[in-house]
């Protein structure tokens, strides 16, 4: 049989003992590149569809090996602060500076890996999946933006008897979504806002396709978990959550709704990629707030709040 295992994908993280991305103990493979531009995005590494270099200044020992390595001069030093500055327009993300950096101040954000390589890595924890009824989750970024790779990876997992989950924002063509859904046991489906105007304002696109795809997935009998990031001042109104719950209630294959409270841990990731974090200073929603939202959803669903 023809093997597609040399298909390559751009991966920015493979997280083991991932226990919040579907049932049991899982490995989550994070793919790079996403069409949405959510202002609160907590995985900024997943946004750009090309490899990048991250810089964590706290770890830097100012050895300047990176400067000597970068052939195109994309790295310079701010002499007053000794801070390294990466010219993002010049940087090709080749990663040679990362190899030269002894202190891990520089890191690869995004590396090209074949399906086979990723399979080998995720299979390392097969014993844990078996015991915990866990498996592999492909997330991102938007994994469906790397359609072939995601399809081949999930097919490969299924062929090995590993439970598969896909986390998607759903803003993709139905043709692509349904192709991957065929090799996916569970879909973690993100719904960010029920009001398409606000959706467009906060993510750059309207929600029509997303909601339509969710309905079609459900009609096709695909098990779904609806995930809602709860972002203060953006989508945390009781009204929006109520609408989301009502929408979810209309989908017959939704097993569960998850409310994911905003946290500020992403801020350092923005800094690492020299990007501005637009939600700086935002406080996570209070316990009371989450409890209240949970109650709203609870009338029709098994709801979990991830803390």
């Amino acid at each position: 049989m023809f093997s597609h295992n040399d298909t390559h994908g751009l991966i920015f993280n493979i997280q083991k003992f991932s226990i919040h991305d579907g049932p049991g103990i899982r490995t989550t493979v994070f793919l790079k590149g996403c069409g949405l531009k959510c202002v609160w995005c907590h995985n900024p590494e997943g946004q750009a569809p090309y490899p990048e270099v991250g810089f964590l200044s706290l770890r830097c020992i100012d050895c300047r090996k990176c400067l000597a390595t970068c052939k195109i001069g994309a790295i310079s030093v701010d002499e007053s602060t000794k801070e390294k500055v990466i010219d993002r327009d010049l940087c090709t993300g080749c990663g040679m500076c990362v190899d030269a950096c002894p202190s891990t101040a520089l890191e690869r954000v995004g590396r090209s890996m074949s399906v086979e390589e990723v399979l080998k890595e995720v299979q390392k924890d097969e014993a844990f999946y078996a015991r915990s009824k866990g498996g592999v989750t492909v997330s991102g970024g938007e994994p469906l933006d790397q359609l072939e790779f995601t399809y081949e990876l999930l097919s490969g997992c299924k062929a090995k008897g590993i439970h598969t989950a896909l986390e998607t924002g759903g803003n993709v063509s139905w043709k692509h979504l349904t192709k991957v859904a065929r090799v996916t046991d569970l879909i973690l489906y993100d719904i960010k806002h029920m009001d398409t105007k606000k959706h467009r304002l906060f993510t750059g696109v309207g929600n029509e396709l997303i909601l339509e795809n969710a309905e079609r997935l459900s009609s096709a009998g695909r098990p779904i978990i609806i995930r809602v990031p709860v972002i203060p001042m953006h989508n945390d109104s009781e009204e929006n959550i109520k609408h989301t719950a009502e929408f979810a209630a209309g989908l017959k294959t939704v097993e569960q709704v998850e409310l994911l409270p905003y946290h500020s841990l992403a801020e350092s990731k923005y800094k690492k990629l020299s990007r501005r974090y637009r939600l700086s200073g935002t406080e996570p929603p209070s316990m009371e707030c989450m409890e209240q939202l949970k109650r709203i959803v609870n009338s029709s669903f098994h709801v979990t709040v991830q803390l």
């Binding site: 083991k16 991932s18 103990i25 002894p102 390392k124 014993a127 844990f128 015991r131 946290h263």
Partner: protein, 786 residues
């Protein structure tokens, strides 16, 4: 918890530890009276005198009687083993944990001390170490430089579980009859039999002494009952009196009698000897029949049984013995190990309601003793593991989990037990599988600084820190062509110290068997009547006598990480010469921070499921196991990773000079396991496919947040199950956030009862030394923020 056990717990926690001079005073008087008599009889008579004369009390509200020393929370002194405790008395108040000594006690102990000059086990061993041994000077040097240590030399036999079940079921009077029978079978016309006769006579005296000791509590309880105005308490005291009149002399008939009988046995074994790590065996197995009979006959309700169990556990928590000051600060536990779960002798699930009760009691009392161990096999119910997880999630670090899948076949293979007998194993010490009443107790462990052995391998046996020759002469490092050559030299160093340990073990054993034989503890072992020898003379051994101690290797993960870095940079990529690397280590990477970080960050590290370094770790362990004489007793744990790290130079794994080593067993070096707990488990379980290493330890630390959801608990259980299915040996957990630990450092008074898992044992965090505290804070915490 009931008000009773809450009050008992509070009363215990509020009190400070103190030294009690009473045992020392009585034994000195007894030894004076029996000079010239056979040693077994002298020991028995001294034991009898202590049990007859020591102060006894029954605590307000307690339902279990028995005390170790004259006041609650006091610790006795064992001058016949060592008088260092007396020398060090002034330091105890500043030690962690603090032990108070009042002036009167100090004066009394100092008055007694001269009598013991030249008579103690300690001095015997010291004398032999300075004169007799071919390696005597080497041991001294190695110990002074913290390369090698003998741990527990002066304590006496420990790491055993006596056959308590037999006495619970048949009574101690039965043991006396057996001893009398054995005595009458001796042919006393043979001069050689005289010693055996002394031993049996001593055993009879000792068993009688224990039975009479119980009767003293019966009388005490009766007296208290007479004066007691509270009717309920009066009834309790009368029940205590009846119980103590009955056991341990006679078979226990009820759960209460069984608990009381057990505590008298455990307590008096502790009073007889300075040894620690005296295990309580498969508690749920031998206690369950008593409990279920009471339940069926409606003598007791489940909640009452739980309360009694909590009373017993609080008594066990109060049984604590001093170490001399140096050791005191390192290992703050008694290892009073209680085992639950596992399989029956027939291979069926052994879990019963007592297993659950033990977990509940342990979770409720929140004490560092008893040490709780849970045996796991494929048939262990999920419910038991979830209950155990609840207990772990409180942060007390217990139970620790052990794999039958691994331990049963190993015990069968290397100790000569049948599979059925092997299925009956329990845990002693931190991680030692033994069969109660059968397995030869151990004397002490050698502790070997594995990273120092690597330094010695790279320096032809000379300690590069002090320029003193302390190891084997191995080839010059410039002749090494691969890490195999380095490993060969490393093996030679390990062999050298293992020889050292073996040579000294026999000396130490002779000291203990000739000066402090243990007639009472011996009476609780199965084969003693046949062999007519005490446990100090290996009287419990049926098969080839196993070694009396074992070697604990400290810092194996550092050795593996260092060798991986050498392999990668010196031999594979050739970006560095071994000379350059050695020089950089010798100067603590002075001016070469980039080199240090490269070694630290760019070479594979153990604990990340990376075969490149995991295979090297496996090789290091294999060499260590091979170096040890059969049967392969080998263990890697302990809390020596801090002092032993202090004497090591910077190492090729990027560790700076003096920093602590990896914290025990197959645990990765602090902060280097970056792939999460599943990767640590994978690394740890691929080390020993042939199941040769009998014992090792794995520490993990989890954020309490994991345990907030049912799914989190279930995932945690799945993690444990997978580890043990993959034949991991042992795993233990700390569940505490770094923030809590840091807060406890700042405000110790607020966190007096915060318990953490240290290394095969749990301890009160605020009682640990600062460097140990920092070390625990630095362990990788597995958390999961999506």
């Amino acid at each position: 918890m009931t008000t009773r056990t809450q009050n008992l717990r509070q009363a215990f926690i509020k009190k400070q530890w103190r030294i009690c001079p009473e045992r020392a005073r009585i034994i000195t008087e007894s030894y004076r009276e029996t000079e010239g008599e056979p040693i077994a009889l002298r020991r028995a008579k001294a034991f009898k005198k202590i049990l007859e004369e020591m102060t006894i009390f029954i605590e307000e509200g307690q339902l279990i009687a028995g005390n170790l020393a004259s006041q609650p929370k006091t610790q006795p002194v064992f001058p016949e083993f060592t008088t260092r405790v007396i020398d060090d008395m002034d330091t105890f108040e500043k030690a962690s944990p603090k032990v108070l000594v009042d002036e009167e006690t100090k004066q009394l102990l100092r008055e007694l001390q001269p009598y013991w000059k030249g008579k103690t086990v300690d001095e015997y061993i010291e004398a032999c170490t300075t004169q007799d041994l071919p390696y005597a000077q080497d041991i001294r040097k190695a110990e002074e430089l913290n390369v090698f240590a003998r741990y527990g030399v002066r304590s006496g036999f420990g790491i055993f579980a006596a056959n308590y079940a037999k006495v619970l079921n048949r009574g101690l009077a039965q043991t006396i009859s057996e001893a009398k029978q054995a005595l009458s079978n001796l042919d006393l016309s043979q001069a050689s039999e005289a010693e055996k006769a002394h031993f049996f006579e001593a055993m009879i005296i000792a068993c009688n002494a224990v039975m009479n000791f119980a009767k003293r509590y019966a009388a005490k309880a009766r007296k208290l009952a007479e004066k007691e105005s509270d009717l309920q308490r009066r009834a309790e005291l009368e029940r205590i009196a009846e119980t103590c009149e009955r056991v341990p002399a006679n078979p226990a008939r009820t759960f209460h009698e069984a608990l009381q009988s057990l505590f008298f046995l455990f307590l008096t074994v502790q009073i007889e000897s300075n040894g620690r790590s005296i295990a309580l065996g498969r508690f749920d197995q031998y206690m369950y029949p008593f409990y279920i009979k009471d339940i069926r006959e409606k003598r007791i309700a489940r909640e009452e049984a739980l309360e009694l169990l909590e009373c017993l556990f609080l008594k066990i928590a109060s049984v604590w013995k001093l170490r001399d000051s140096a050791a005191n600060s390192l290992r703050v536990t008694m290892y009073s190990n209680v085992t639950i779960g596992g399989q029956t002798r027939e291979g069926k699930d052994a879990t019963n309601d007592m297993s659950y009760l033990v977990l509940e009691a342990q979770k409720n009392i929140q004490m560092i003793q008893p040490t709780l161990s849970l045996r796991y096999f494929d048939g262990t119910p999920q419910e038991l593991l979830l209950k155990a997880t609840e207990c772990v999630s409180t942060g007390i670090g217990m139970p620790a989990f052990f794999s039958d899948t691994r331990i049963v076949p190993a015990t069968h293979r290397s100790n000569g037990y049948s599979i059925k007998e092997a299925r009956d194993y329990c845990l002693a010490g931190c991680v030692v599988p033994v069969v109660a009443g059968r397995t030869q107790p151990w004397l002490y462990s050698g502790i070997l600084n594995a990273l120092k052995c690597l330094e010695l391998a790279l320096n032809s046996g000379v300690d590069p820190r002090t320029d003193v020759k302390i190891g084997a002469t191995t080839p010059d490092f410039r002749t090494f062509k691969s890490i195999e050559d380095i490993l060969k030299a490393f093996r030679a160093q390990v062999d050298y110290f293992i020889n050292m340990l073996n040579n000294s073990l026999e000396i130490v054993r002779r000291g203990h068997s000739s000066l402090v034989p243990l007639p009472f503890a011996s009476a609780l072992f199965d084969n003693i009547m046949k062999t007519s020898k005490t446990i100090s003379e290996k009287g419990s051994c049926e098969h080839d006598a196993p070694p009396l101690g074992w070697m604990v290797f400290i810092g194996d993960a550092n050795v593996a990480d260092s060798l991986a870095a050498i392999k990668k940079f010196v031999y594979d990529e050739r970006v560095l010469s071994l000379t350059e690397l050695k020089d950089a280590c010798a100067t603590n990477f002075e001016g070469k921070e980039d080199l240090r970080l490269m070694l630290l960050n760019k070479a594979p590290k153990f604990g990340n499921d990376d075969d490149y370094v995991d295979s090297i770790m496996a090789e290091v362990l294999r060499l260590e196991v091979e170096s040890w004489p059969k049967p392969n007793h080998d263990l890697q744990s302990a809390s020596f990773h801090i002092p032993m790290g202090k004497v090591c130079l910077a190492s090729p794994d990027g560790r700076k000079a003096g920093e602590a080593l990896a914290d025990g067993g197959v645990s990765p070096m602090l902060g280097r396991d970056k792939q999460g707990p599943t990767a640590v488990i994978k690394s740890a379980t691929k080390l020993d496919p042939e199941n040769d290493i009998q014992m090792y330890l794995l520490n993990m630390k989890f954020d309490p947040a994991l345990f907030r959801s049912k799914q989190g608990m279930e995932d945690f259980v799945a993690l444990i199950r997978t580890y043990l299915d993959l034949k991991g040996f042992h795993i233990q957990f700390n569940v505490v956030s770094p923030e809590t630990l840091k807060a406890a450092q700042r405000e110790p008074e607020k966190y007096a009862d915060l318990i953490v898992r240290v290394s095969g044992f749990s301890a009160y965090f605020v009682e640990l030394r600062k460097d140990m505290q920092d070390n625990i804070i630095a362990r990788t915490t597995f958390t999961n923020i999506a």
